[in-house]
């Protein structure tokens, strides 16, 4: 993902009609949207739908994008809303964590496959509020203050949730590695 200023400039250019800027924006940020959706639904088909829907929302909302605002904050909020909307509408349902293991596309790198699958499984097992906070900060690069604004909770709560998520993931990885 690009740095924040670069993303904001791209978003402003896209808002002003620069199609190439919009395509770059989509390419740069789709991995975060996809990862969030995969962790939410555990299903690549649902994640594809989320990605499509998120960029439709973003493209539609670009004329209202405030120059200088953090694009990632907006993108996270849209992504989260789209996931929740799909869940509430019943059009998509999260798959159980066990089944998720079969549907996690990970890079074919030696040693990375098992680790990534374990991490994704641990993330999916988190409490939704912890997963949201962790995703906002670790995937979308939001500060605690920005995540707090998006999630509607104090920054201290974001900090606690992210920490709780990391502890749970670390413990899960340690358990699977045969640690005490």
């Amino acid at each position: 993902m690009r740095d924040r200023e670069a993303s904001a400039r791209l978003a402003e250019a896209a808002r002003d009609g620069d199609e190439a800027a919009f395509e770059t924006l989509v390419r740069e940020h789709t991995p975060a949207v996809w990862a969030h959706a995969m962790r939410f639904f555990g299903d690549s088909s649902a994640a594809e739908d989320v990605v499509q829907e998120v960029w439709i929302h973003v493209y539609r909302g670009l004329p209202q994008f405030q120059g200088g605002a953090a694009f990632s904050t907006w993108l996270f909020r849209v992504t989260r809303n789209v996931c929740v909307d799909m869940l509430r509408s019943g059009s998509r349902r999260p798959v159980p964590v066990d089944a998720f293991e079969r549907d996690v596309p990970v890079p074919d790198e030696s040693g990375a496959v098992d680790l990534s699958a374990s991490v994704e499984r641990a993330i999916r097992a988190l409490a939704p509020e912890d997963r949201d906070a962790f995703g906002a900060v670790a995937l979308f690069g939001l500060t605690y203050a920005e995540a707090a604004e998006s999630l509607g909770v104090p920054a201290g709560t974001v900090k606690s949730r992210v920490f709780r998520a990391r502890r749970a993931i670390a413990a899960s990885l340690d358990d699977q590695a045969g640690g005490a």
Partner: protein, 361 residues
């Protein structure tokens, strides 16, 4: 420094949030010696090495293309609609501009078209504007003739606002709730008048009052008497669209949820709460003060105004209900309240309201 403090400090530093360097050094030192913390740090290192799930290679390009396919036609349609509205505004402007002063004064209760025309005037291409003026010159002439006739015949009185402080007769008092959107509302509605004018006839203004922050809509006159009804509080309302608001006693109705307010003539008017159904629960409309009929409910003081059309940062989408998007406060549940944005369809209880509205169970 205990384990939790040390681990939380390291987690915070990983997120590039500011931490005290000395405390961080202490935390690292602790984590090198403590077995539990060593496992935590080992887990963090593994987490850092892990690669998040990656999307299919062509997904991003396909998503960008799809977004344009969906949204571009929407924008074109919106631009066409705006152009059509602008053209209509120019027509009205041309008609109004041709009137002599006397005739213009006689038709004073129709200023909404002037406001609209000024708003959109810069968007009109000169060639189109000239054509519209020529094409509708006849309409302008008709208006001029009507205005002159109205001035002579004294029709002006029909449109003239009631003088502030003029005593209300029983007849006028009763007639106000039964005739929403009269000249009174359009000309004396204070800050709400332009909204009503711009929104047109259907948005001339609801007959709302607020009581303890809950919005009630006028229902009918009742035969009840204040002597027998139970007083439950006061409401600040003019009970019309124009005169100054006064504090009026509110009575509970025998039926339950309705409230009763006596007008200046002593006639008891009944009002029912404005509600909507969501998730099998009845939500009531809440608002800031509504001192007169025609004032649209707005978000209560304790609910922040969103800064973006998608409700952010105050709201997040809760659900789509029959074409109406329902929002909740970010970080809260719908049980605490739901919001509806401007522009809801005619069938919705918030239809016509240019403001965000707030509803609680």
């Amino acid at each position: 420094m205990d384990c939790i403090q040390a681990q939380e400090l390291i987690s915070t530093a990983l997120d590039r949030e500011p931490v005290d360097p000395q405390a961080l050094a202490e935390a690292k030192s602790h984590c090198r010696e403590c077995a539990d913390c060593v496992r935590f740090v080992r887990g963090l290192a593994a987490l850092q090495r892990a690669i998040p799930p990656e999307p299919p290679a062509e997904l991003a390009n396909a998503a960008a293309k799809r977004a344009r396919e969906v949204v571009d036609p929407e924008r074109e349609a919106a631009a066409q609609a705006a152009a059509a509205a602008a053209e209509a505004a120019v027509v009205a402007e041309a008609a109004a501009g041709e009137q002599p002063a006397e005739a213009a004064a006689a038709t004073a209760p129709l200023p909404a078209v002037e406001i609209t025309a000024q708003d959109v005037r810069p968007k009109i291409a000169p060639r189109r504007r000239t054509g519209a003026i020529i094409g509708w010159a006849a309409a302008a002439a008709v208006l001029v003739l009507f205005g002159a006739w109205a001035a002579v015949a004294g029709v002006r009185a029909i449109f003239a606002p009631r003088e502030a402080g003029a005593p209300q007769t029983a007849q006028t008092e009763r007639s106000v709730p039964l005739q929403p959107g009269t000249g009174d509302t359009a000309t004396e509605g204070g800050a709400t008048a332009p909204q009503a004018q711009q929104k047109g006839e259907e948005s001339a203004g609801p007959q709302y009052v607020d009581f303890d922050g809950t919005v009630y809509r006028f229902q009918s006159e009742t035969g009840e008497s204040s002597a027998t009804a139970q007083r439950i509080g006061t409401a600040l309302t003019s009970l019309d669209g124009g005169s100054a608001a006064t504090s009026r006693d509110v009575y509970g109705s025998r039926g339950g949820e309705m409230i009763l307010i006596a007008n200046d003539a002593g006639v008891m008017l009944s009002f029912a709460p404005v509600t909507r159904q969501y998730g099998g629960v009845t939500y009531r409309l809440r608002s800031t003060a509504i001192p007169a009929f025609g004032v649209w409910p707005a978000l209560p003081q304790n609910v922040a105004q969103p800064t973006a059309a998608d409700g952010s940062p105050t709201f997040v989408v809760e659900a789509d209900e029959g074409g109406v998007t329902v929002y909740r406060l970010a970080g809260s549940s719908a049980r605490e309240g739901i919001a509806v944005g401007p522009g809801s369809p005619q069938s919705d209880p918030a239809a016509g309201n240019p403001n965000w509205t707030w509803w609680t169970p």
